[in-house]
């Protein structure tokens, strides 16, 4: 792309074209990020309202859809309080690594076969590395506030994120093993559009790896049931107790942005990313060069949003783990199973170099059965709730 651009503007030096191109991409990605994180905060509150049988924000705009703008403006106008005894430099600095850690990962997320910030050949490594920045910000926030609760929150976040990074990376290695590449585009290209061609169903060990990935990604994103760093009933508000206004907003911006990163990674690594069926591709290609990419983007968004919505639902359903239980889950269950899945996948690839179609279908249908059971329970519960919802004791 840069080559073509420099051909378009032959009078500009190469580095300038590159710099401009980087700026444009960065602005586009940040805009996308804000446009995701804002509305998803509204969506989360609406879903939470539904789950809790209340309404949620519905005043600003139709159905309250621009509530996030109102909240954003409100937070920007608020006083940026810095406690007297805080480490002022660190306190000011802390929100940025958190924000940066999440936004940097967007660079290598493939939205379609063409739309990608930079298809790095070490994309996955880059994502894991950038994601690791978040923990620096959280510890800095916890330490610099000069408050014992925030310190505890910072300590918890450090312990949690470092221990969950291990199963996370190990589960990503399974994908790397199967695709033979760290580049996200290559990983997606080596999967197919049909579910049996996805990595998640390619063998039972990959399926385990996917479950491990989802659990540890939720823990990395500090979401319930792993929201210990900000456990409001224990640590007041954890690391962000002393923050206000815009800096406070940055933490939450990162939290909601994280949702997208988790969903997008799950979609692209295990669920075939932007791959669309050949029939659709042929149909779209006949209409013009842009339509296939639109289809791909839509497919990618669909897969991502399923996980985003699932994580939101989890948050409003489950209670929180305790610190020692959290560590136990990571070190005693997730990490060993992640190792097992790496070794298992390796063996599987040796034994079945072409894959074993029966097992793929078996995994697919067992997954469908689980989803079916979930839907059935949801419908059953919904009927129960409906029968109760009309109850009003009119006095």
């Amino acid at each position: 792309m840069i080559q073509q651009l420099s051909l378009l503007f032959p009078m500009l030096p190469m580095w300038l074209v590159q710099a401009i191109w980087c700026g444009v991409v960065a602005v586009l990605l940040l805009t996308f990020f804000s446009l995701f994180a804002g509305p998803v905060s509204w969506l989360e509150r609406r879903i939470a309202g539904r789950i809790m049988s209340r309404i949620g924000p519905n005043r600003v705009g139709p159905q309250g859809i621009i509530q996030w703008l109102a909240d954003g403006v409100k937070n920007f106008l608020k006083e940026d309080l810095i406690p007297r005894d805080a480490d002022k430099i660190l306190f000011r600095f802390a929100p940025y690594p958190v924000f940066l850690g999440v936004t940097l990962t967007l660079v290598t997320l493939p939205f379609s076969s063409l739309l990608i910030g930079a298809d790095l050949n070490v994309g996955l490594l880059y994502i894991v590395g950038a994601w690791g920045l978040v923990v620096i910000g959280l510890i800095a926030a916890g330490w610099s506030s000069n408050n014992k609760w925030t310190l505890l929150g910072g300590m918890r976040s450090a312990a949690q994120m470092i221990s969950y990074e291990i199963p996370l990376v190990l589960s990503l290695l399974v994908v790397v093993l199967m695709s033979g590449s760290l580049s996200l585009q290559t990983i997606i290209s080596s999967q197919g559009a049909s579910p049996v061609e996805w990595f998640i169903f390619s063998n039972p060990f990959a399926f385990i790896a996917f479950v491990i990935f989802m659990i540890s990604a939720v823990a990395e994103g500090n979401r319930t049931p792993f929201d210990l760093p900000e456990a409001e009933s224990e640590l007041v508000a954890g690391y962000n107790t002393e923050y206000s206004g815009m800096r406070f907003l940055f933490f939450f911006f990162a939290e909601w942005g994280n949702l997208y990163v988790i969903g997008a990674l799950a979609a692209s690594l295990f669920l075939g990313g932007w791959q669309i069926p050949a029939g659709w591709r042929n149909f779209a290609s006949a209409q013009g060069p842009i339509l296939p990419h639109v289809f791909e983007v839509l497919m990618f968004q669909l897969k991502t949003w399923i996980w985003v919505l699932l994580i939101i639902q989890l948050r409003w359903t489950l209670p929180r783990l305790r610190v020692d239980q959290l560590m136990k889950v990571s070190w005693k269950y997730l990490t060993p199973f992640a190792f097992v899945s790496i070794v298992g996948t390796g063996l599987w690839m040796v034994v079945f170099p072409e894959g074993w179609l029966f097992m793929k279908y078996l995994l697919l249908f067992s997954m469908l059965a689980v989803i079916g059971y979930f839907v059935w329970r949801a419908i059953w519960q919904l009927r129960f709730t409906k029968s109760k919802a009309d109850f009003k004791l009119i006095v």
């Binding site: 789950i51 809790m52 456990a231 009933s233 007041v236 489950l318 305790r322 519960q381 004791l393 006095v395």
Partner: protein
């Protein structure tokens, strides 16, 4: 050299987990607690001294404020104490109305406890669901006496208002609605794996400790002691009613852990539903207020009345000197004694466990301090 030391944290009086204004001076080694000192007195309003100044009848509204989460039983206990001293007996219908009101209030109080417990463990949804059901109970109270929190319903010699004509059917309608909701609540949170793991084997209060530290009510029964004032020192119409007293059996861990104390309350809600149904069936027609003189002047005497409140044995010790004001009124509440055991059990727990332990004791701040 790295120097390590204990960290002293002041948990409260403004802290989300202390339900009002409690304060704990906590010494921790990281997450593990070494010492927890409850610091009470932030909500002290000199209730007992006020009683000596305002007289028997005027003190009745103050009893609402002793424990505003379960005000009916406070009203009831005080009214019983004065009636005992002055030799007044309430009419039968009034006794039934008192029991119905007390049991409905027990349901609403336990709903708050269950919801807050879930919230302290990190699940926000059950709290809202519990509060939603509590609103309906409050509607019923509004029917009875017009108030939703501080009722002043049970008076010396009876109750302030008779139940409206449609009260019985509305009440049954609510109970029919509510009993399946308890099961839904259990499905949502009580049997959740994470929730059980967080509560089981945490804050185990042994049978001996529970008796030695004078725990009462659900906290005592959670430790496996079958003691309920309604059964063992029966008052009002409870002898005529058939109900069970749930006792902790250690269904998820040891007897007397947080989960036992939690499940006792869930079960008690079901028992309360049973009691309300029976009381509604048996309730006779008739007077709701006995003849009470304008100025109550009990003879020189000392009485102690006990009542099973949502937080356990609630006692009023009344010393009368023959005037229209009590010479001394001592209020004995369950939350105060529950606070004392925190110091014994908490060392060795984690901060998150302390939060669970406090809310499993169902401590209500105004009841601690009066």
């Amino acid at each position: 050299m790295i120097r390590t030391e204990e960290m002293t944290i002041s948990m409260g009086p403004q802290h989300p987990a202390t339900h009002g204004v409690l304060r704990f001076i906590v010494k921790t080694d990281g997450e593990v607690l070494h010492e927890v000192k409850p610091d009470v007195g932030y909500l002290h309003r000199s209730m007992e001294k006020i009683a000596e100044k305002v007289g028997y009848i005027s003190f009745q509204p103050y009893t609402d404020r002793i424990d505003y989460v379960c005000a009916m039983t406070c009203n009831h206990a005080y009214a019983m104490a004065v009636e005992k001293a002055a030799g007044i007996s309430a009419p039968e219908r009034a006794e039934y109305l008192r029991v119905i009101a007390s049991e409905l209030n027990r349901i609403s109080s336990h709903l708050i406890m269950a919801g807050v417990m879930a919230m302290d463990i990190g699940a926000f949804t059950p709290f809202i669901h519990a509060i939603r059901e509590r609103e309906t109970v409050n509607d019923l109270f509004e029917m009875l006496c017009g108030a939703r929190l501080t009722y002043n319903y049970v008076r010396i010699g009876g109750v302030s208002f008779d139940a409206p004509a449609n009260f019985k059917e509305k009440c049954v309608e609510f109970l029919n609605h509510f009993e399946p909701i308890i099961d839904e609540f259990n499905r949502l949170i009580s049997f959740n794996k994470i929730y059980v793991e967080r509560l089981a084997n945490v804050g185990v209060v042994s049978r001996e400790d529970a008796i030695a530290y004078n725990l009462v009510g659900p906290n005592l029964r959670g430790s496996g002691v079958r003691f309920d004032v309604r059964k063992d020192i029966p008052y009002s119409i409870y002898p005529k009613i058939d109900f069970n007293v749930p006792v902790g059996i250690g269904e998820a861990g040891k007897v007397g852990d947080c989960y036992d104390r939690y499940m006792i309350r869930i079960r008690e809600m079901k028992e309360s539903c049973k009691i309300v149904r029976q009381a509604l069936e048996q309730m006779p027609e008739g007077e709701i207020m006995a003849k009470v003189p304008r100025k109550i002047k009990p003879p020189v005497t000392e009485v102690y009345s006990r009542c099973e409140s949502a937080r356990g044995d609630m006692g009023f010790y009344l010393v009368s000197d023959g005037t229209d004001k009590p010479y001394r009124l001592k209020i004995r509440t369950g939350s105060f004694s529950a606070m004392s055991i925190v110091e014994k059990i908490a060392p060795g727990l984690m901060i998150a466990d302390l939060v669970a332990f406090i809310s499993s004791l169902d401590v209500v701040a105004p009841e601690v301090d009066r």
